[in-house]
């Protein structure tokens, strides 16, 4: 079955109305429900939330040596904050799930297909 990456990008410095504690709890509750639904329907494959981009380290080859440097790889304001890997019949099914997630957390979600993945 096709797999999709649902990624949540945070934009550094973007002014955003801070959530109240209640809103935060409500958002967590809805997200919990969505994830529960994903697991019980067999849609969920993997998911994770990442620490801030400034906790990232990059290793790369440079003149035959491995170089370890501080910082996120992409010098961009938009950074990956978290993601889901899901199984879905088609793009519409993946988009329907992404729509639920974005409604719960009010952050845009990018949906991107994986190159064929063998089902485990």
């Amino acid at each position: 079955m096709p797999h999709y990456l649902l990624s949540v990008h945070s934009v550094a410095g973007e002014p955003r109305e801070p959530m109240t504690d209640e809103e935060m709890q409500e958002s967590h509750r809805r997200l919990g429900e969505i994830e529960e639904g994903m697991r019980s329907s067999g849609t969920w494959v993997f998911s994770g939330r990442l620490h801030e981009p400034d906790t990232a380290t990059v290793v790369r080859m440079s003149g035959g040596e491995v170089l370890t440097v501080d910082g996120p790889f992409a010098e961009s304001k938009e950074q990956l904050g978290g993601f889901y890997v899901i199984r879905a019949d088609d793009l519409d099914a993946a988009l329907a799930l992404a729509a639920k997630v974005t409604a719960a957390i009010e952050v845009p979600i990018e949906v991107r297909p994986f190159v064929a993945v063998a089902d485990a």
């Binding site: 999709y4 019949d89 088609d90 793009l91 519409d92 988009l95 991107r112 297909p113 190159v115």
Partner: protein
Amino acid sequence: MPDTARIERIFREESGRSVAALIRAFGDIDLAEDAVQEAFAVALRHWPAAGLPPNPGGWITTTARTRAIDRLRRESRGRELLGELALLAPGRDDDGFGGADDPGPVRDDRLRLIFTCCHPALSREAQVALTLRLLGGLSTADVARSFLVSEATMAQRLVRAKRKIKAARIPYRVPEAHELAARLEPVLAVVYLIYNAGVTSPAGPEPWQPAARPRASGEAKPWQPAARPRASGEAKLCGEAVRLARILVTQLPGEPEVAGLLALLLLTESRRAARIGPDGGFVPLAAQDRTRWDRELIAEGQAIVRACLRLDRPGQYQLQAAVSAVHADSVSTGRTDWRQILALYDQLLAVAPTPVVALNRAVAVAEVHGPAAALALVEMLELDQYQPYHAVRADLLRRLERHGDAAAAYARAAALAPGTAEREFLLRGGRGD
């Protein structure tokens, strides 16, 4: 015996149905397209001598299907696919036009294809290009010409769009009832864009015009078809849009906006001949010879508008069609029911609050409350790059006898005018004679 032009026309009309049927049968857009193209080549070889088959559309689908199966047999991956198809649909030997094994109303495969081509996950440019290529049977070169991009650019755009459909698995199906309204929006927008691309240059073929040639100043965006060569391509696009709208109406009879769009296209189409003066110049609505309006198209359009009104679920296309229907009823601009038009624009502005709608509403305001009231509304709009804004403003200034300001506005409108005929009209200071 049919000549090449006739065969080409038949293919344009029929190929969308064949492509759609083959995509459903084989699940592969490229394979379907190539096979229908091969069938076209066969037809070009045989039909001129043998004559048209009794059912050209069915012949194309059957021939293309045979070609597709031949090709799949030659490729090992194809043989696997054929095996899978046999498992999925044992013994199915229909012609691909819709399942005899499919209960309920028979749905045209073209409807699935329209929704795939106009999937919101595709860019508007890709939606328009795919729709014209796959459903309209236009060649990539034709599609490219219609939107003033090079053939290579258009080919690449199509390849990228088809790759996304395949990789992301954009489904090949008609959306379910609860998602239909949202999914219809881009479909209707695409059909309307195709029509407008054809109408922007109002003239039909104009033999003294230079041959088709893309402008050097870069590409026009497809939703703003700019100055384009007058080829038969114009009429082709308008005709194609009407045809697509008719398919949608037949397939989705319960959707008033679909009917509204068809009515709008028919009513606009009814004025095609009158839009062009004897010298090939653009003629504005007020100056058109209304005896040249096509009464048959008007009658059909107005009947649809009346049927829509009874459903009482207004939307932007129905309201625009209703405006057009009121114009069609009027023997002259002076005797047009402008109050009714203004009331319709009030409703339209409520459902589609865009500056362009506000501008059109201002035109009606000018007729009901005078040019000064309209000018005050127009001056609040931010439409500096929109040519009709300057044309409307120029006309209002002229009526207020602010001749210097009017001249400047006409010049600005002329500089932005899309078609030669329209530009000349504006350069004459907006005089229709």
